[in-house]
């Protein structure tokens, strides 16, 4: 199953999409960058949303370009938030097992099961609505967007702990 971005979210990023470049030698992944910022906003604000497939655009199954080595960290952040939202204590081995088996699929290139990708996408879909709350208008310049985004993430999270 592919990661998917809301079409309206993709549109929202259109003015800075061209600036979502990668470092030399790495292929850029502008839509995944947009998806990533939505995902982080969703995680920070603990907001998930289910959106019909017709209103989303499939991205890629694997972590592209600049995210290739960051996949395990994204899974870590996702699992941490998901276990917390399900009220699973990390010490409850059996429940942790069950959730990991549900969300993780080592046979898939992104290491997430269909259920896992579905839940992952929900954070990104909900996160787009968080971005709409955080920003008065769609971003027009990359440097302004990034600096404001960082400030908004800071204010959304209690200092030191995401969960």
């Amino acid at each position: 199953m592919d990661f998917a971005i809301r079409k309206d979210a993709r549109e929202w990023f259109k003015d800075i999409r061209v600036d979502f470049a990668a470092l030399p030698g790495t292929a850029s992944a502008p839509d995944f960058d947009a998806f990533y910022f939505c995902f982080i906003a969703g995680i920070a604000a603990k907001r998930k949303k289910d959106v019909p497939a017709t209103e989303t655009a499939a991205l890629v199954e694997n972590y592209p370009g600049p995210y290739r080595n960051r996949g395990p960290l994204l899974i870590a952040l996702f699992l941490s938030r998901e276990l917390d939202s399900l009220g699973v204590d990390i010490a409850e081995k059996k429940r942790v097992h069950a959730q990991i088996s549900r969300l993780v699929d080592p046979g898939v290139s992104n290491h997430l099961s269909d259920d896992g990708v579905r839940e992952f996408n929900k954070y990104a879909h909900g996160g787009y609505e968080v971005l709409l709350d955080w920003f008065d208008d769609r971003p027009r310049s990359l440097e302004t967007f990034l600096r404001t985004f960082k400030l908004r993430v800071e204010s959304a999270l209690p200092s030191g702990k995401a969960t």
Binding site: D8, E11, V18, D19, F20, A21, A22, L23, P24, A27, S28, D33, Y36, I40, I43, A44, P66, Y67, R70, P72, L73, L74, I75, A76, L77, L79, S80, R81, L83, D84, I90, A91, K93, K94, V96, H97, I100, S101, V104, P106, G107, H111, L142, E143, T144, L146, R147, F149, K150, V153, E154, L157, P158, S159, G160, K161, A162, T163
Partner: protein, 667 residues
């Protein structure tokens, strides 16, 4: 049907360029593969190119050019009241003539088209040529440095659209229209269960469809206006630059201030790229994320997860007759082992978890704050640059403001820019009304909604689906409609995939060409969308941009070899470094069957030799310059191939062409 278009020549009289006639054919009446027209700057190259584009696109037809724009083309210092530009073409060996008649008093241009049965009023090219003879497409084969820049700007061109037109990919989506019409036909012929209900529903559907068509047409008109306004804005900005830099002292000060601004912009762009890459690390965004990840790892460690034994060990054990401790394994024990094995993760799961834990250790094992502190430092640097840019921009604005106050020409250009920007903003605002969905419209109460009050196109489309459903229900064609929807979805997906596959192939081939043209440069096309999106950068130098443009267009023309279009270029090699010029010269003859270039004398170096070599000598040389502007007049008049017009000279031949040394008109 395949199309071969050739430019036979053109004639200009009474216009801003010297009166001249160009014939691109050899003695046998065949067009030269390459026609080089040497014109010093200031002779009217831009005017000639504008006229060629207008003649090929009908861009000035039906009053599209206002009086000022028409009068801008009037011959300078003269009192001509009318003028003429006539372009002669062949379409699949059949003659087509487009004539533009200028009336400067009225500020009007009238077109006349001669094709087949005779001359007709207006711009009326044959149907099969229309997709190549419109303003958007002409820009791809009548090309200059500015248009190369535009290829990289989504405001100006639609590269994806050019691919669609050339390869006719849009025909796939026309199949979807046909399928939809079939369903409409069926609903008409089927007897409705309830005639009154049927008519009411059908009328509502028609009203919503009409609204959809009206909105689409209004949107398309606005998009065209937006593109024209952007074009006018670009030329006014150029005019502003010309006016503001005409005084040397002022030009120096402004140039210096602009240099500072541009340098800071570049630094900010680079800083933002580093910032973006740091922010791709989630643990850098907040110590809270770093802590959450670290606690996940610590928690898993405490719970001894993943275990050292994986599920597969117990599954294998269950197949043995005896346990590792030596005791026998019967069926009951076997079932228990298998059942409890499910509490262990598989080897692969274990690997994923270990990989994740190791990645967490690497980035936040030592400190949960370090990455965030580094990010804060980068943000501080970018913020300082932004503050510096604001100061530098203020300084530049003040200089420009002072120039505007003291020079009415600058002020006039500024006012025009402000007006055009206001127009552009208004159009963009109007266009935004069509975007997204109208949340006030509830589909469950759609029967009470007046479609004429809805502007969101997506909402209208949703409404149409509801009404189609209602019509399908009353006509018992629901199943057929579902089939139609599936078929339409398949066709649209095929259209999208075909487009993506073609643009991806063109991108890859164009990138190969770029590599050949500029072997020591890593500029590449990342994506072909509305514009060409460059990999890792938003623009390049003039030479790079032009080379990318050539590579893209040559691939495009090469791939669509069933259509042969002429390729007209202004200054094909001027802004390009010497070592790349030779590569461009080799590429040009392969671009298309007819290449017409306007060049200046200093551009010949390196370019001409390789061009000549690659074209087997099938080159026409023309030199065109204005009377009274050059010491070369006497030499020109001594040449047998010299033709003198009211205000200019045209000399054909290679020797004169090569000996001519004049980049710009003499004052």
């Amino acid at each position: 049907m395949s199309v071969t278009m050739r430019i036979l020549g053109w004639k200009a009289e009474g216009l801003r360029c010297p009166d001249h006639e160009i014939d691109c054919c050899n003695e046998q009446g065949e067009t030269y593969s390459i026609s080089l027209i040497q014109m010093p700057n200031g002779t009217g190259k831009t005017t000639t190119l504008t006229l060629l584009r207008a003649a090929l696109s009908g861009g000035a037809a039906n009053g599209a050019w206002d009086r000022a724009r028409v009068r801008e083309l009037r011959k300078r210092g003269g009192d001509v009241t009318d003028a003429l530009f006539e372009l002669r073409l062949t379409l699949n060996d059949k003659r087509l003539t487009i004539r533009m008649e200028f009336d400067f008093e009225a500020g009007r241009v009238e077109y006349k088209t001669t094709w087949g049965s005779g001359q007709e009023e207006g711009f009326k090219p044959p149907f099969e040529l229309r997709r190549f003879m419109n303003e958007d497409f002409v820009n791809f084969y009548v090309f200059d440095g500015e248009l190369a820049d535009n290829l990289l700007s989504k405001r100006h061109t639609d590269a994806e659209q050019a691919v669609e037109s050339l390869f006719q990919v849009h025909l796939i989506s026309r199949m979807a229209d046909k399928v939809s019409s079939y369903w409409d036909e069926q609903t008409r012929s089927v007897t409705a269960k309830d005639e009154t209900g049927f008519t009411r529903r059908k009328n509502r559907l028609e009203a919503w469809r009409k609204r959809h068509a009206d909105l689409m047409s209004a949107k398309s008109t606005l998009e065209k206006r937006l593109s024209e306004t952007n074009g006018q804005l670009a030329s006014q900005e150029e005019r502003y630059e010309r006016e503001i830099t005409k005084e040397e002292d002022r030009a120096k000060k402004i140039g210096k201030a602009e240099g500072v601004v541009n340098d800071l912009r570049r630094q900010i762009r680079e800083g933002a790229q580093s910032l973006l890459d740091e922010m791709r690390d989630p643990h850098a965004l907040s110590p809270a994320f770093a802590t959450a990840m670290f606690e996940l790892k610590s928690g898993l460690d405490r719970a001894k997860l993943p275990e050292s034994a994986a599920r597969e060990f117990f599954e294998d054990l269950a197949m043995e007759d005896a346990c590792v401790c030596g005791r026998a394994i019967d069926d009951e024990i076997r079932t228990a082992i298998r059942e409890r094995a499910k509490n262990y993760l598989s080897t692969e799961d274990v690997n994923v978890l270990n990989q994740m834990k190791s990645a967490i250790s690497d980035v936040v094992g030592q400190s949960r704050h370090k990455a965030e502190e580094d990010l804060a430092q980068t943000i501080k640097q970018v913020s300082e640059l932004v503050t510096n840019l604001q100061s530098a921009q203020n300084e530049l604005d003040e200089l420009k403001h002072a120039a505007e106050q003291s020079d009415p020409d600058v002020m006039k250009a500024k006012d025009e820019i402000d007006r055009l920007k206001e127009d552009r903003d208004d159009i963009e605002k109007e266009l935004r009304r069509f975007d997204g969905k109208d949340n006030k419209v509830r589909l469950d109460r759609i029967n009470t909604v007046d479609p004429d009050r809805v502007f969101a196109i997506e909402t209208i489309e949703d409404g149409i689906k509801v009404f189609e459903d209602q019509v399908a229900e009353v006509t018992n064609t629901r199943m057929l409609r579902q089939k139609r929807d599936i078929l339409v979805r398949i066709i649209r997906s095929a259209h999208e995939k075909a487009k993506q596959a073609i643009t991806a192939e063109i991108r890859d081939e164009a990138n190969e060409r770029i590599e050949k043209l500029m072997p020591h440069n890593d500029i590449r096309i990342d994506e072909i969308d509305r514009c060409l999106v460059l990999r890792g950068q938003s623009g390049g130098s003039v030479g790079e941009t032009l080379s990318v443009g050539y590579a893209f267009l040559s691939t495009l023309f090469d791939r669509a070899n069933q259509h042969q279009l002429p390729f007209v270029v202004d200054s094909p090699a001027n802004p390009i470094d010497f070592e790349i010029r030779a590569n461009i010269g080799e590429l040009v003859p392969k671009l298309t069957g007819q290449f017409i270039a306007f060049i200046i004398s200093s551009e010949r170096e390196k370019f001409l030799t390789s061009l000549k070599k690659a074209s087997n000598g099938d080159i026409q040389y023309i030199t065109l310059f204005r009377k009274g502007a050059s010491h070369l007049e006497t030499k020109a008049m001594a040449d047998l191939a010299c033709v003198t017009t009211n205000d200019g000279f045209r000399v054909t031949g290679e020797q004169f062409f090569n000996e001519f040394q004049l980049d710009a008109e003499e004052a």
